[in-house]
């Protein structure tokens, strides 16, 4: 049953006339043409579809539109403001915190939510916070350093 879904996406209002049961990941990637959020496992395990909803990291493959109705959604495309990269993005770039780049948007968004909650995390807190994000290329050590640096920016 189509209905009007309204939420804020990367700072701008969005209104969709569609089914509330549709999955956020696919609506972002199709209707809204934001392909930075990636499908990796479809089961909320790998974290490559991580977006931030009302300040918290959410697996977009596990969230439906009803869940984001009235909320504020930030995706990787909304992290840079006025052409300025977010400190996390700069730190990932500087430290080489990626290789193939496919898990990177989800990793950055998860780290973004982590730093919102814990602005100066210890290394143990970073490891714990990133534990559910998978990276197959093995950029872990550099990702941790990038998050540490961004937390001191």
């Amino acid at each position: 049953m189509p209905e009007i879904i309204r939420f804020t996406l990367n700072g701008a209002p969005v209104s969709l006339d569609t089914e509330a049961s549709r999955t956020l990941l696919w609506v972002l990637r199709t209707d809204l043409a934001l392909t930075g959020t990636k499908y990796g496992c479809g089961a909320g395990i790998c974290g490559s579809c991580t977006v931030v909803v009302d300040g918290r990291a959410v697996r977009a493959c596990q969230a439906d539109l009803a869940f984001v109705n009235g909320k504020e959604v930030t995706t990787i495309e909304g992290l840079a403001r006025n052409g300025e990269l977010h400190p996390l993005q700069r730190a990932f770039h500087e430290h080489g915190g990626f290789q193939c780049g496919y898990c990177t948007p989800g990793a950055i968004m998860n780290a973004y939510a982590l730093l919102r909650e814990t602005p100066r995390p210890t290394r143990a807190q970073i490891l714990e916070g990133m534990e559910r994000n998978l990276c197959r290329c093995g950029a872990h050590q550099r990702i941790v350093r990038a998050i540490e640096e961004a937390s001191h920016a």
Binding site: R22, T23, W26, R29, T30, A33, L34, T35, G36, T37, K38, Y39, G40, C41, G42, A43, I45, C46, S48, T75, I76, E77, L79, A80, L85, Q89, F92, H93, E94, G96, F98, Q99, C100, G101, Y102, C103, T104, P105, I108, I126, L127, E128, M130, E131, R132, N133, L134, C135, R136, C137, G138, A139, H140, Q141, R142, I143, V144
Partner: protein, 708 residues
């Protein structure tokens, strides 16, 4: 070479909008191509050219490479090589990769070959382009070539900077095609300003902003998302299918043609729902082997071995041994598990097919797709966007063939993006392997006997680089041509194929002999090799790790191990420190130090990233990863049961690049992963006194080993 290809190249330079195009031959690549690949190239497309460098009228330089970027960083390092030889700054470089229409033929991105095989072609093309441009400048400025200096894309009269012309000005109004057969003088290490540096990666900004485009991000007008009916097991056949309920859904296109059963929709979720309405029955063949029985099965069905290496007399070796050692090593199947599953978008219009594919081998996919849809190869264009990890798993291109066939049948652009379950099902796994080793040492702790037999994995990494007078290496079944019936599903190249299995066995066997000889394992290795490159990496890793000589096992719950090997012409040695508990079976890798001699290093930070990636990825096959199966039925379908390495598992990783600038660049994508099994197993032995002969070292397997 047929004339058509020359015309094709002239058309190509016209299509580029003028400027100067320099193309170079690389005869070495021909030697590497199998005959089949050679035949594929006889089709009008430039068949003898390996690298293009184009200088546009605005002075920008584009490198065209049939290689692809899947995270290994070659987009950046190849640009460095071109910029260095051409005399331009890196910021003026563009790189186009993996597009069969504009890039020179390439056999595929695998085997850690890009830097050692393709890099030289790029340097030659760029060096020659610099000469072409300098000659043009000499004409323009009315001086001899020798009196000119190139800096940052500007040609000066040496000593008079006011007399100058830029590359862009030289390319202006030109349409020059220059073919290179001759040798060009390359810049030396002392002259390098771009090579040997570690600039920020070319793909960095795209990847941290979400702008990087992967195959699944391609959108075409009218594109349909397809979901395909899959069998429950390999070897199963479809006996009955009913698509009526799916077809009744609005907005669903059903295809049932030539063994392809698919549902397609403009919304991927709708396609998934429609697939769940397809009723099907399959007949499944009875399982011949499972996760546990596979090892006996492999040995039972193994073909007569190929003898790779034989020296001396094994009987003499036995007689000279004061002690012989016999052991059997095992590893199961592992998945490539790139985070991006296989994906392709295909569009067919005006008799031409365009396929965007996540692939390591765009040119072989072009052939495969063309055959599948009955097109001539040059009517198929494969474009490779960024690839979200490959590791050898994205050489076959089943998903691209599926997308192309469905595009042909439906007349619409089609995306096929495998689900994680499809990815686990159709992956070409690293083969399970059984390795049997008999070895012996003499009174002085020298290895005098080495009788080695590997089943299932293949030969890579089985060469004996220790000084063993009496030795034999036998190989039953290569991963690339697995004997029918040996493996219940497809196997393929998995990052340093076969070498991970072989080094796991060989370097534990070495360690076992060292322990019995009451020798420090590093000293034992040094005693048994005269290879200066091996000695250098062993000494370097020992120094970096702070290695104090000691005989293993020390049984302190903490331990350290060492292992070494050669892969892609690169020498590598690792030290690992672990904590391990034989009672619980829990192993934690605390620190890994890796020293590598890979010849001249084009991009040191990029090389280190590959070493770190090998170590991190390697932890998976060492500690947790194993595909569980019953016959052709794959029991792992997602990351909940198939555990990849996680952040909390990461050891401190330290990398050492052993300088060897006189040697041309060697491979970097794979060497550091090959010893991960043995280096951790050797450390576990030091910590607990338990030898683990089977990968992965799960708590269950370690406890079982401790009981034996």
């Amino acid at each position: 070479m047929p004339d058509t290809s020359r015309v094709g190249r002239r058309d190509f330079v016209k299509a580029l909008g003028g400027g100067i195009l320099v193309v170079v031959n690389l005869p070495m690549a021909r030697a590497l191509s199998p005959a089949e690949e050679m035949q594929r190239r006889q089709r009008g497309y430039p068949d003898d050219i390996n690298a293009y460098v184009h200088i546009a009228e605005d002075g920008s330089v584009t490198l065209y490479s049939g290689k692809i970027e899947m995270g290994q960083g070659v987009m950046t390092s190849l640009a460095q090589e071109a910029a260095e030889e051409l005399g331009v700054s890196l910021s003026g470089m563009r790189v186009v990769m993996g597009d069969t229409d504009s890039c020179p033929w390439d056999m595929g991105t695998f085997g850690s070959l890009t830097t050692r095989m393709f890099g030289p072609a790029v340097r030659k093309a760029a060096a020659r382009a610099r000469l072409v441009l300098t000659d043009l400048a000499a004409d323009r400025l009315g001086v001899a070539r020798e009196s000119l200096t190139v800096e940052d894309g500007v040609v000066y009269v040496s000593g008079d900077r006011t007399r100058r012309v830029t590359y862009g000005e030289l390319a202006m109004g030109e349409q020059i095609l220059h073919e290179v057969d001759e040798e060009a003088v390359l810049r030396t290490v002392e002259e390098f300003t771009v090579m040997g540096q570690s600039p920020r990666r070319f793909d960095g900004i795209d990847k941290i902003t979400g702008r990087a485009v992967y195959a699944g991000d391609i959108r075409r007008p009218g594109m349909l998302y397809a979901r395909l009916l899959r069998p429950p097991a390999h070897g199963a056949t479809l006996t009955q299918v009913d698509t009526a309920a799916a077809a009744a859904m609005p907005g669903i296109t059903v295809v049932n043609e030539g063994g392809l059963v698919a549902v397609l929709a403009e919304d991927p979720e709708r396609a998934a729902r429609a697939l769940s309405l397809v009723e099907s029955e399959f007949s499944v063949v009875e399982a011949e082997a499972d996760t546990e029985s596979i090892f006996d099965h492999i040995v039972r069905v193994a073909p007569e071995p190929d003898t790779g290496e034989q020296e001396g007399d094994l009987e003499q070796g036995r007689r000279n041994s004061i002690r012989t050692f016999e052991a059997t090593y095992y590893n199961g199947y592992v998945a490539h598990a790139p985070i991006e599953p296989h994906t392709a978008v295909a569009e067919i219009a005006d008799g031409r097919a365009t396929v965007w594919s996540s692939t390591q081998a765009p040119f072989s996919q072009q052939e495969t797709i063309a055959r599948a849809i009955g097109f001539a190869p040059d009517a198929v264009r494969v474009i490779t966007p960024y690839v979200g990890g490959g590791f050898g798993g994205k050489v076959p291109g089943q998903q691209a063939v599926e997308a192309a066939r469905l595009a042909q049948i439906t007349g619409r652009p089609v995306q096929v993006a495998w689900t994680r379950a499809e990815e686990f099902f159709y992956d070409t796994f690293r083969p399970a392997a059984v390795i049997h080793v008999t070895s012996g040492i003499d009174l002085e702790g020298r290895i005098v006997l080495w009788d080695y037999h590997v089943y299932g994995a293949g030969s890579r990494g089985s060469d004996v680089f220790y000084d063993v007078p009496n030795r034999r290496v036998r190989v039953s079944g290569e991963w690339g041509r697995a004997p029918e019936g040996m493996h219940p599903f497809a196997v393929g190249a998995w990052r340093a194929p076969a070498a991970n299995s072989n080094r796991f066995a060989a370097e534990q066997q070495i360690d076992m002999m060292a322990a019995t000889a009451d020798m420090d394992p590093l000293q034992f290795r040094l005693r048994n090799t005269k290879d200066p490159r091996m000695i250098a990496v062993l000494e370097a890793v020992g120094e970096a790790a702070g290695w104090d000589p000691a005989v293993a096992p020390r049984r302190r719950g903490r331990g350290r191990g060492i292992a070494c090997g050669i892969d892609a012409e690169t020498y590598v040695a690792l030290v690992a420190e672990v904590t391990a508990d034989a009672m619980t079976g829990v192993v934690r890798v605390e620190r890994v130090v890796c020293a590598q001699d890979m010849g001249l290093v084009v991009n040191p930070d990029g090389a280190r990233m590959q070493m770190e990636g090998c170590i991190a990825m390697g932890l998976g096959y060492v500690l947790s990863e194993e595909i569980r199966f019953e016959g052709g039925r794959i029991l792992d379908s997602n990351f909940d049961t198939y555990g990849l390495p996680r952040f909390s598992w990461m050891p401190e990783i330290e990398t050492v690049l052993v300088q060897n600038d006189d040697l041309p660049p060697k491979g970097g994508g794979e060497p550091a992963i090959i010893n991960m099994g043995a280096v951790v197993a050797n450390a576990v032995f030091d910590a607990t006194g338990t030898r683990v002969f089977r990968l992965p070292m799960t708590p269950e397997n370690v406890r079982a080993a401790a009981r034996d």
